[in-house]
């Protein structure tokens, strides 16, 4: 047997060695689009060094408190906060975490608009951000309907007309406490968490968008370009 007849070592696995199971295909796809170094990065491009990037993280941090305070309120039922000073405090935590969640999210959204952050195949990241904002508004709105006080009575009365006029009110009755309760503590939190998680994964997968009009001649690209180019050529 000559050398030419011997099996040659290959870096790429033979097609028959590739795991074609659904799980195997999913694992390869996940590792391709979101390798660990992208999912949990230890470095960022040098332009990611401005305070505006804090607001996205601020929204997520606020969401942690929204969910946490909501979970404590859930443990004790919707009337607890009227009867207990501790319950009222947790209701206040819930209220202010929601206020700051929206505050951070709105600034984050405007910042991303002015950064044209949808560039470079990041349109879906932008869309999921807008959708998470819209779904969060519905979640917050149902929360205001569950206060079991005058404000929730009035909001239920006032909001019904727009929903009824658009045909939604027949299926989403804002004056029905039980129905709104289930939407607020189960369906909408799941929706918000799923969309926010998708948004964050898209950000991690695509990376932070470079500055508008960034060019190869910029110093922050030039400094490493020779090394990078050499390694790529090798």
């Amino acid at each position: 047997m000559t050398d030419s007849q011997l099996p040659q070592p290959t870096l790429e696995p033979e097609p028959e060695d590739v795991d074609h199971s659904w799980s195997g295909r999913l694992r390869r796809w996940v590792l391709k689009v979101l390798p660990p170094e992208k999912l949990l990065p230890t470095s960022q491009p040098s332009y990611v060094a401005t305070w505006i990037y804090m607001f996205g993280m601020g929204a997520i941090a606020s969401l942690v408190f929204v969910i946490g305070s909501g979970a404590v309120l859930s443990l004790n039922g919707p009337m607890w906060w009227h009867l207990s000073p501790l319950g009222h405090f947790f209701n206040s935590l819930h209220l202010w975490s929601v206020e700051f969640f929206f505050f951070f999210m709105v600034i984050h959204l405007w910042a991303k608009f002015w950064m044209a952050a949808w560039r470079g195949n990041r349109a879906l990241t932008w869309i999921t951000g807008v959708v998470s904002f819209a779904v969060s508004i519905v979640a917050g709105f149902t929360g205001y309907l569950l206060q079991t006080n005058f404000d929730s009575q009035w909001i239920a009365y006032q909001a019904k007309d727009a929903l009824n006029a658009s045909g939604i009110g027949a299926w989403f009755n804002v004056a029905n406490f039980g129905q709104m309760f289930m939407w607020h503590i189960l369906l909408l939190p799941i929706a918000v968490l799923v969309i926010v998680a998708l948004h964050v994964l898209l950000v991690r997968g695509h990376g932070v968008v470079p500055p508008l009009d960034a060019a190869e001649s910029d110093s922050q690209l030039r400094e490493t370009t020779p090394t990078e180019a050499t390694s790529r050529e090798a």
């Binding site: 601020g58 405090f89 950064m115 690209l221």
Partner: protein
Amino acid sequence: MPDSQKSRARRKSLDVRAWNGTTRPYDLLKELAIGVLVVGVIIVGFAAVAGSPDEPTITLQNWAQANPNDFVATATAELAGTSDTASYGPPYSSTAGATQTLGPIDLQTMSGVQLRIDAAKDFVITPLTTLDSAPDAVSTWRAATSEQQTAWATSYSDALGKASNGDPSTVVSGNYGPVPQLTQGLLTVAKGGALDGAIQSEGGLYNTNPTPTILFLSDGTYFSSLATAQHLTGDQWGMMNETGSYPGQSWLWLFSFWYQVPLIGNLPNADLVVVFIMVFLTLVLALVPFIPGLRSIPRWIPVHRLIWRDYYRKR
């Protein structure tokens, strides 16, 4: 390829590809932990200092005791079928021509009467029967034709409108059938607090749906006068406000804004028009990356120069 096209292509590739330039150390989990800590301090601080508002609910008993004339006038309107709820249309009733439409679009009718409410029966007759109040008047009412019922209630409603302050005791005599006894009987049980339970119990022991009570309350003027005092009505930027001096749902400002524009707010189908406007604007916002002109605004108004000022300074 012209230079401008080459330049654009290079920029695009830079947007798309992984960053090859200088980097800085970054720890995602550390930033998250610090963010949670800092935001937590802020939120706990606001919760401890500012708290949260809690104006008690308004009951039918509160209403009957605070403004009995308004209560009687509203109960009469429920019997006459002229209250907002009785004449609302879908999803509560099948009143013809009551829906909001936009051209041929009538989503309200399409949704159907899914939450049927018979205002006279649900708000007045059934509770009186449950509480055994004014039984003779209830029997007389039930024995009459619907035309007779409407005639009695309408006559009494007109008479209340002409009475001093709408006071039932000053109404001139007339053919009102059992309506004065029905409304006075309802007022009596409402003042004692029994009406709240009677209406709520129509949904059974585990009823979690206070829709009938909220609709009945909102048919009167007492409920909205309290909301006006709390700056909550539609012409006061509506439900984006919160009772007291709290920020409320400020993120609903654009929704409330359209109601403040007379050209829109005064339309008979204002709710539907505002919903369509907001759906359209939300879609536009979501699709900004694909809308020529709109997606170029960040290039025309260079706020990004401020955001990435360090990067541009070091170019």
